[in-house]
Amino acid sequence: MTTPAPLAITHLTVAYGDKTVLWDITWQAAPGLTAIVGPNGAGKSTLLRAALGLIPSIAGEARFFGRGLAEVRNRVGYLPQRASVDWDFPATALDVVCMSRYPRMRWWGRVPKAERDAALGALEQVGLADLADRQIGRLSGGQQQRVFLARALAQDADLYLMDEPFAAVDAATEQAIIAVLRRVVASGRSVIAVHHDLSTVPSYFDQVLLLNGRAVAAGSIKSAFTPDAIARAYGGRLNVLEQAVAEGGLR
């Protein structure tokens, strides 16, 4: 084995109360752009959150670049599911992006110029530099999602874990986001994203992990994203249309 994988999960088992959500996941992510795909309740977000230690796991561990998370915290970026923040919160787009760099600044006083510039750079990457001073509630949904993407990018990490980066955005924003992700990967970094839309998996991603409580299949799109594996992951819950899309996407 040459360089250690960006993310290697061994025997990860997670339960909420009595309900086991992830069963004995062993998986190694290859560098590049990876999708985590599976039906609702398959434990996709849970996998990311447990890997980051945000929820406790019963067994198993996650190693980043061959090390524990605490050692390489700065090399791992995170984009949480766009959900529960208070959009009325007193923070501008720039404030939000700066937040990702808080661990490496001192906790008080003005934001240092270098950090501010890095945050502005990240906003520039997602095309929102001119809205930097706008309060986040006054941005459109797609712009809000891009601010959060910029926040993750500003972490300047080598691996980004993204929880549904395309949730509830319009087609144009989705294209903009995937373009940004491609640039990130082209610069030698890795992205692992929870993804919902089976039809776009082959065109957007290099690798895939099919998840349904267990790891059903993993690997390159060609080898792992097979109709058979998809059917197993979705356990019959995949309707005919989706199935056709999934198969069509492969050809």
Binding site: L52, G53, L54, A70, R73, Y78, P80, V85, D86, F89, P90, A91, T92, D95, V96, M99, S100, Y102, P103, M105, W107, W108, G109, L131, R134, Q135, G137, R138, L139, S140, G141, G142, Q143, R151, Q155, D170, A172, T173, A176
Partner: protein
């Protein structure tokens, strides 16, 4: 009213009101931003058994044991609330309500049982505050303001209030950015390696400390008014974090001063023999401040609509 009266009776109380309300106003913003205002309600009530226990154990109405007892009780209440939420599967408001009323009731009973009440920590202090009893009888004139022995005889509540206010202001400045992120997105704070749980605990203890320090001055229920009202009023008026936090503190302090003045000294200065409970007036002004901020917000030009251009 003579200058000496002002120095002996009004100045210490005025200072106490400003310090207590300013400190609460400072921390209130974090409660309101975290949508956890009821925690202020909970902590200001839940500290009572701790205060009584601290008092009963040392037998003296000294600042430190009471403060420590109160912090311990606050910690216990926070733990109890999360336990009740998990085990009884109650929403956080109901869990909070169940816990703090139990703590407060326990405190009231302890007050009877330990005889704390008979001395000078009485029900009236808990319910209405004792701002009027903060007096500086040693003052001989404005010269006393420079006289160390006279200054040492300032009421001890003032020292406690000043110490707590200084420490808390320092902590807020020190934790300025982590607190911002903690209020906005605690999950993300944890994900990028900030000690989110520790910060949350620290914030709770800070609120508890503010509540205890202000408790004697304005009473336990009006602590809630000072924690929530100034912060909520400012919340309606600004979109800046700095303005929110500092504005909350400033508005709190201003309401404290104005309320105290309106309750007695000001009418007296105009020859009206008319005096009200100062803490009550301060709390009422807090409610009016929120109502005023609401009106102001509606009168202001409608904020620009969210931009719909995307891509």
């Amino acid at each position: 009213m003579t200058a000496l009266d002002f120095l002996r009776l009004d100045l210490p109380a005025l200072l106490a009101a400003i310090l207590a309300c300013g400190t609460c106003g400072l921390l209130g913003s974090f409660l309101v931003l975290r949508r956890d205002s009821l925690l202020g309600d909970a902590l200001s009530h839940a500290v009572l058994p701790g205060i009584i226990a601290g008092f009963a154990l040392t037998g003296a109405r000294a600042g430190l044991p009471m403060l420590l007892g109160a912090l311990a009780a606050a910690l216990l209440a926070v733990v109890a609330i999360s336990l009740v939420r998990r085990v009884a599967r109650l929403e956080s408001g109901a869990a909070t309500g169940a816990v703090f009323t139990s703590f407060f009731a326990l405190g009231l009973m302890l007050m009877e049982a330990t005889g704390a009440r008979s001395v000078d920590l009485d029900l009236d202090c808990v319910l209405f505050g004792q701002l009027e009893s903060v007096v500086w009888l040693e003052a001989q004139g404005f010269g006393s303001l420079l006289d160390p022995t006279a200054l040492a005889a300032l009421p001890r509540q003032l020292f406690l209030l000043a110490a707590v206010a200084t420490v808390l202001a320092g902590l807020v400045a020190l934790l300025w950015r982590p607190l911002h992120l903690l209020c906005f997105d605690p999950d993300y704070a944890a994900a990028i390696g900030l000690p989110a749980r520790g910060l949350e605990l620290a914030l709770n203890l800070m609120v508890a400390a503010a509540a205890v320090a202000a408790f004697e001055a304005v009473g336990s229920i009006l602590v809630v008014a000072m924690l929530v009202c100034p912060a909520a009023a400012i919340r309606l008026l600004t979109d800046s974090y700095r303005a929110q936090v500092l504005g909350g503190a400033a508005l709190g302090a201003a309401l404290g001063a104005l309320g105290y003045a309106l309750a007695g000294p000001l009418p007296a200065a105009f020859g009206q023999a008319f005096s009200l409970n100062a803490a009550g007036v301060i709390g009422t002004l807090g409610g009016l401040a929120v109502a005023g901020a609401m009106l102001l917000r509606q009168l202001r030009i409608a904020p620009p609509k969210p931009a719909v251009i995307s891509g």
